[in-house]
């Protein structure tokens, strides 16, 4: 299994600002992903964080809004830019270990 730590666990941000979320895995992993969980809804994949290259974004998500870094095999960051109240969600980092995917505890973002 993989143990995934996220920071911050929660934050309240002003609209128009940006928030960067850090994700640390306790072992080297090939695949890391970022998901969003809007209030009362299920998880939606934002992007695959690729080590050493640009992230691969899913339909509806763009790099300008959600820039992602993956400098090595254990760490990634997700930035949510130009925040609006609609960005209030839980942002979840996940990593592949064997055939399964593990998740961090999530970063709870409220935009005011």
């Amino acid at each position: 299994s993989a143990v995934i730590s996220q920071k911050p666990s929660r934050d309240i941000c002003q609209r128009g600002t940006s928030l960067t979320i850090q994700c640390q895995v306790d072992s080297q992993v090939t695949m890391m992903f970022w998901y969003r969980q809007q209030p009362g809804q299920s998880l939606t994949l934002i992007a695959t964080a690729n080590q050493g290259s640009e992230a691969t974004y899913e339909s509806g998500f763009v790099i300008d809004k959600f820039p992602i870094s993956r400098p090595n095999l254990t760490f990634s960051t997700l930035t949510v830019s130009n925040l609006s109240p609609e960005d209030s969600s839980i942002y979840l980092c996940s990593a592949q270990s064997g055939n399964t995917i593990y998740f961090g505890e999530g970063s709870w973002l409220t935009v005011v």
Binding site: L45, N99, I101, F103
Partner: protein, 110 residues
Amino acid sequence: QKEVEQDPGPLSVPEGAIVSLNCTYSNSAFQYFMWYRQYSRKGPELLMYTYSSGNKEDGRFTAQVDKSSKYISLFIRDSQPSDSATYLCAMRGNDYKLSFGAGTTVTVRA
């Protein structure tokens, strides 16, 4: 039509009852099937993982996959109040990208 359908419930059962959860899906490429448990204000916790069709048992939990019907199930025996949570089915093909169901909220009454 969503790729993965899951009844969001809510589902309320008395302690000791069997909880039955299920999902249907439309993508034939899905080969790996997972169930996650998510407590309020926590991240999803992996409960069960199954590859292709068949049954898998782990303590009080049993996962079933029927690929011919595109139908998966999770059974929780002897349910406890601590099982009260949202249960998410998830599945993927070979690319490790998970598609999730809506999640079913379960309450086990003491």
